[in-house]
Symmetry: C2
Subunit: 227 residues, 2 copies
C-alpha cells in the first residue's frame, strides 16, 4: 500500500556522479540529456539506445552522460516518473466521478478503456521500455509499473467490492483478482494494439469488447446491446 521507501532518484536533489549538487549549467545539460533520451526512444528500440548516441545528440560526450546518470535505465526512469504522475492524474480523473449505474455506467467503462488506450498510445515508447525492463526482472521498472497501475487496480477492485456488498456484481469472487484481471486485460491489449490492427481486429471493436467485460465484471449487469 505505502510506497514511501520506493522513491525514485528524483525525489531528492539530483546529484552528479561525484556527489556534488549540480549548478545551473549542469542542470541544463542534464535536462538536455533527458530530452534527447526521450526523443531517441521514439525512433530506435530500447536496446539500440547507445549512450554515445544520446550524448552526441545532446552535443556533448559520453563521459558527461555518466556524470548525471549511472546508466541509460536511470535516465529513462526519470522520464518514467513523470509519466507515472501523468497517469495518476489521468486515471483518477476517469474513475473518480464516474457512476456505474445503467447506460451511464457503461459509458464510463468505455471512457475508462479509451483512457487507457489513449495513455498507452501517448507514452508508447516509454511504456514499451517499462514493460520490457519489468519482464527482464529490473525491479526499478517493476516498481514504476506498480505505481502506475495501482490506483486503477484499487479503483476497480473497490467498485467490484461495493457491488458485492449490495449482493450484485460477482459475489464470492475476490475483488482484487477482478481488478487485477481487468487491468491486465486493458494494459495488454493497449500494448499490442498495433498487433491487433495488423491482424485485422479494429481498435474500435477491442474497445467495445473490453468495456463490456469491465462493466459486467464490476456490476454483474449485462451492458446495453451494441448498436
Amino acid at each position: 500500500m505505502s510506497a514511501d521507501h520506493l522513491d525514485a532518484d528524483e525525489s531528492a536533489e539530483p546529484r552528479a556522479a561525484d556527489g556534488r549538487v549540480p549548478g545551473r549549467r549542469g542542470r541544463a545539460t542534464r535536462q538536455r540529456l533527458l530530452e534527447c533520451t526521450g526523443q531517441m526512444l521514439k525512433d530506435r528500440t530500447y536496446r539500440d539506445l547507445k549512450v554515445v548516441d544520446i550524448a552526441r545528440e545532446a552535443g556533448t560526450s559520453p563521459a558527461t552522460f555518466y556524470q548525471y546518470f549511472p546508466d541509460v535505465e536511470s535516465a529513462i526512469l526519470v522520464l518514467a516518473d513523470y509519466m507515472v504522475a501523468q497517469g495518476s492524474e489521468t486515471f483518477s480523473a476517469l474513475t473518480a466521478k464516474a457512476s456505474w449505474k445503467g447506460r451511464a455506467g457503461y459509458e464510463a467503462s468505455l471512457d475508462l478503456v479509451d483512457g487507457v488506450l489513449a495513455f498507452w498510445e501517448r507514452f508508447q515508447p516509454l511504456l514499451r521500455v517499462v514493460d520490457l525492463a519489468t519482464d527482464e526482472g529490473d525491479l526499478r521498472f517493476a516498481n514504476v509499473r506498480t505505481r502506475l497501475l495501482n490506483d486503477l487496480n484499487n479503483t476497480l477492485a473497490r467498485a467490484a467490492a461495493d457491488h458485492q456488498s449490495l449482493g450484485k456484481g460477482q459475489p464470492g469472487v475476490n475483488p482484487d483478482a477482478i481488478g487485477g484481471v481487468l487491468v491486465a486485460m486493458m494494459v495488454h491489449v493497449s500494448a499490442h494494439r498495433l498487433g491487433f490492427e495488423f491482424w485485422g481486429v479494429r481498435t474500435e471493436d477491442l474497445r467495445e469488447a473490453m468495456a463490456r467485460i469491465v462493466f459486467w465484471s464490476v456490476t454483474g449487469q449485462k451492458p446495453p446491446t451494441a448498436g
Copy 2:
C-alpha cells in the same frame, strides 16, 4: 491465416554456417548446444545469456556455436518451435471436446484458464524471452507468439460467433475482438502470475475471475455462483 511462408529454420534440413549438412557428430553437438541454451535460460535472464557461456557449458567453443546458429535468438527460436507444437496440442485438447452449456461449460472455461496458466508455468523461461523479443520488435518471435495463440484465439472467436448466431452471447460485438481480448487477458495474467502473488492476489482467485469472464463473454450467461 495461412503460414506456409513463415517456416522456421527447422522445417528443412538444419544447415551449418558454411552450407554443409551436418553429420552424426555435428548434430549431436548442435543438440547439446540447444539443451544447454534451454537450461541456462532458466537461471540467467535472456540478455545475460552470452554465447561464450553456452559454449563453455556445452564443453565447446563460441565459434562452434556460430557454426550451427547465426545468433542466440535463432537457437532459442528452435526451442520455441517445439513449444509451439506442444501448445497446439495442449490447447486443442482443451477446447475441442468442451461444451459451453451450463455448469459443464463453466467447468470447461476453468479448464481452459488452468491450461493456459499451467502452460505458461511450464514454459516460463522460454515464454519470457518470446514476450520480450516480441516487444522489442523481433518479427521472428512475434511470429512464434502468433502461431502459439492463433488457435486459441480462433477457437474462442468461433465459439463467440456461434453463440451470437443463436441470438445469445454478445450480439453485435466483433467475435475476433472478443477472442483476442480474452486471450490477451489470460496470457498477460499468466505471465505476471508471480507478480500478482507477490502483490497478495492468489492464483486461485485470478483463475476464477478469468474463467467467469471467459464464460460470460462467450455465452452471455452468468456463470454459476462461486462456492
